[in-house]
């Protein structure tokens, strides 16, 4: 049985590894993290609007100038506001966004622990 699984997964992975190549580069990665401000819920990468085209060429220029990914995000956020970034920047006003889930998960864990530690065995009833 296990051998059978192994063969199937092996075949899948062989195909995987043979195809493993990407034409994607930094520019596309950046486009995908930017909101097209004139569209509804689209990224720069997905939009054909004039705005998206302009931003694409700005990004291309900045990448050519040797600017780092994060520097480009900061540059655009300064110009257009954080609204343009799909990854909310990690700063004071966004701390709730970034930390609250973990705090809640932790509290949930404590609650579970309390449930397990409570000792009133049902079997004695």
């Amino acid at each position: 049985m296990k051998n059978y699984f192994k063969i199937i997964t092996s075949i899948i992975f062989l195909i995987l590894s043979s195809n493993c190549f990407s034409d994607e580069n930094l520019n596309y990665k950046i486009y995908k993290n930017l909101r097209c401000l004139v569209c509804q819920g689209q990224t720069i990468a997905d939009s054909n609007s004039d705005f998206a085209m302009t931003i694409k060429s700005v990004v291309d220029d900045k990448v050519k100038d040797g600017m780092k990914e994060n520097e480009i995000y900061n540059f655009l956020a300064d110009k257009y506001g954080d609204w343009i970034l799909y990854k909310p920047p990690f700063k004071l006003k966004n701390y709730i966004l970034w930390f609250l889930p973990y705090i809640l998960f932790f509290l949930g864990g404590i609650l579970l622990l309390l449930i397990f530690l409570k000792k009133t065995p049902l079997s004695k009833k």
Binding site: L16, S22, G41, Q42, N48, L97, L100, L104, G108, L112
Partner: protein, 626 residues
């Protein structure tokens, strides 16, 4: 004419709902144990008339009766028949009528299910369900009437948004509605059971079927929505963590937590209060999602139709529902002594709930935070896929492990499972990933772990399936759904790692050489269809390594009604990989902007979700046969 019949039929249904509530209140006091026949009649006619209203609207769409504003605004005579039909629920008013239809349908089904048992509980459920129905009927009749007339009747309609003219989107809303609108029935049942102080396991037996039904349809609905997004929106993705997508996912998390908890309720009468809370929350979350979508306060690809007055109406209703639930919960909160052994099956159900609620809060915070921030500080922030990936990905790993381990544990016992076997399978999964996956980019530590543990879950689920078949136990639903989930995570991750994309400009006759493919722009044709004109590009894609050729024909369509330009992607879908091409024109140039993508395992992602929901449907059938 149609307008008057439609309104009349809806009004009759409203009166019947009111009668049902009124009659139930007086019947509850009677000592008789059998629900009198009149309730079945009332409920049946209520269903009949509301279906009739829906058919009237459907009729209006099929025969393009533009004296109805709703038909005038959303249809057109040149639209193909299929889209005239699906257009019925492709707009706010029509979909609200469909919503009410489903609520009434489930009200009726619940009444006839397990006939002549627990009379008081059933009548109270009927009361709550019909209060909900009444509210939506009043909303429909006063604010969003699909039967409103326009005089004189225009000779032509305004047409349906072309991106909604799509087979997947035709069935997407009904499926999703069968999912989260049907959760109203266990919302009502939970409130009723609180008031009647129904026994825990009786309640579990009553609502399990409905929870599994809604969960299975919700899963399918989300799947069809993703498939639609994949080939219609033309960006090559299928999930963008868009607020509206999130609105369909949040009730799904709650439903999943709910039916896992129901197992504990059935087996050991535990978690009663929690199950009640989850039942109530699921429908509240569904209505909240609807509020976010219909009120238009969120910026999303889905904001096709919105109107603040609708939002206000739903918000008032939401406030009413929440306060009613809270009052009933506090007044009748059940006393129970829960006792959980660590590593017992029931403890794993708790772990499931822990993670589900965590996933829910992440999505909820991600969706709502921008709204709060904007109100409080006037600053706008976008929460996109990057946020969800960063926050959620690390938690997927332990979650996958628990999903594999949990089902093997025993009820009421903290005995460890066969640890040797477990380590062997995990080791096997590890070696598979390390031997065969030489991903060069993006294979971060967490991604690797996710791959390992999704393979572990897949292998373990297969083993579970094998043992249940060997033992002639046909309780396969759980293993099937877990298997589907393992596959889903595995294929999503590998798809994420292995997808490729190139953007470039081409003109007719030119060829673009990429590392593995060459793309030749053969020709360009203009075609005239019934309701649009289209520019079809013909591209020859050559797979250099495998000497394979295929033609892709992306389009740029100009629809006549309404005048909208859409970019249609061309996809060649194969079992292991899709090739995906979109083209768009560049103003004042003979060049076209081309986007070529290869997307491995797309079909397997869809199949994985189908397998997940298949587990649910199997459970429904098995219950029916019992």
């Amino acid at each position: 004419m149609l307008s008057k019949i439609g309104i009349l039929s809806t009004l009759i249904s409203t009166i019947l709902s009111f009668l049902l509530v009124y009659q139930s209140f007086s019947e509850v006091k009677s000592k008789n144990n059998i629900i009198s026949k009149k309730f079945y009649y009332l409920s049946f006619y209520q269903l009949l008339f509301i279906i009739f209203s829906f058919l009237i609207l459907l009729f209006g769409y099929i025969f393009s009766d533009f004296s109805l504003i709703n038909v005038y605004e959303n249809s057109h005579t040149t639209k193909p028949l299929f889209y005239k039909i699906t257009g019925t629920w492709g707009n706010h008013e029509g979909s609200l009528l469909l919503w009410i239809n489903i609520m009434v349908l489930f009200s009726f089904l619940f009444l006839v299910y397990k006939k002549n048992t627990e009379k008081k509980f059933k009548l109270f459920t009927l009361i709550f369900q019909n209060i909900l129905i009444l509210f939506f009927l009043i909303f429909l009749l006063t604010n969003s009437n699909p039967f409103s007339e326009i005089y004189p009747a225009p000779s032509q309609g305004m047409g349906l948004n072309p991106i909604l003219q799509d087979p997947a989107l035709g069935i997407h809303p009904p499926l999703l509605y069968l999912g989260f609108v049907s959760s109203s029935i266990y919302f009502s049942a939970a409130l009723a059971s609180l008031i009647c102080r129904l026994e825990a396991n009786v309640f579990a037996k009553f609502i399990k079927l409905w929870v599994v039904i809604s969960w299975s349809f919700q899963t399918l609905g989300i799947l069809v929505g993703s498939i639609w997004a994949y080939y219609e929106l033309g960006w090559g993705g299928y999930w963008f963590w868009d607020p509206v997508e999130n609105s369909s996912l949040m009730p799904w998390f709650l439903m999943t937590a709910l039916f896992h908890s129901l197992l504990v309720l059935e087996k050991k009468n535990g978690l009663y209060a929690w199950v009640l809370i989850l039942s109530i929350l699921t429908f509240i979350m569904s209505v909240t999602g609807t509020f976010l979508v219909r009120s238009g306060i969120l910026n999303s690809v889905h904001t096709f139709a919105n109107d603040p007055s609708r939002g206000l109406f739903i918000l008032i209703f939401l406030a009413f529902m929440i306060s009613m639930s809270l009052i009933i919960l506090f007044k009748y909160f059940p006393n129970e002594k829960n006792n959980f052994l660590f590593l017992s099956k029931e403890s794993f159900v708790l772990f499931n709930n822990w993670f589900m609620i965590f996933f829910l809060t992440v999505v909820l915070i991600g969706t709502l935070y921008p709204l709060f921030l904007e109100v409080l500080s006037k600053e706008k922030v976008s929460v996109g896929p990057a946020y969800y990936n960063i926050v959620l990905a690390p938690f997927i790993v332990p979650f996958l492990f628990l999903m594999s381990y949990g089902p093997q544990s025993k009820w009421f016992s903290s005995k460890l499972v066969d640890v040797k076997k477990m380590f062997f399978i995990i080791l096997l999964s590890f070696s598979l990933v390390f031997i065969f996956a030489n991903f060069e980019k993006d294979s971060s530590f967490i991604t690797t772990l996710i791959l390992v543990f999704s393979i572990y879950l897949i292998l373990q689920s297969f083993l579970d399936l094998y043992t249940s078949i060997k033992n002639n136990s046909f309780n396969l639903s759980r293993s099937i759904s877990h298997l589907g989930f393992g596959m889903l995570i595995f294929f999503i991750s590998t798809n994420n790692i292995l997808s490729t994309e190139s953007n470039f400009n081409l003109k007719v006759g030119e060829t673009k050489k990429l590392t593995n493919y060459s793309i030749k722009f053969n020709n360009l044709k203009i075609l005239k269809e019934k309701n649009y004109e289209t520019l079809v590009g013909n591209f020859l894609i050559t797979d250099i390594k495998n000497y394979k050729e295929e033609n892709l024909k992306p389009e740029i369509r100009v629809y006549n009604q309404p005048k909208i330009v859409t970019y249609e992607s061309s996809i060649k879908s194969k079992i292991l990989s899709d090739t995906y091409l979109t083209m768009s024109n560049l103003a004042g140039s003979e060049f076209y902007s081309i986007r070529f993508q290869t997307k491995p395992f797309m079909n397997l992602i869809w199949i994985s979700v189908l397998i997940i929901s298949a587990g649910g449907f199997l459970r429904i059938l098995r219950r029916e046969n019992k």
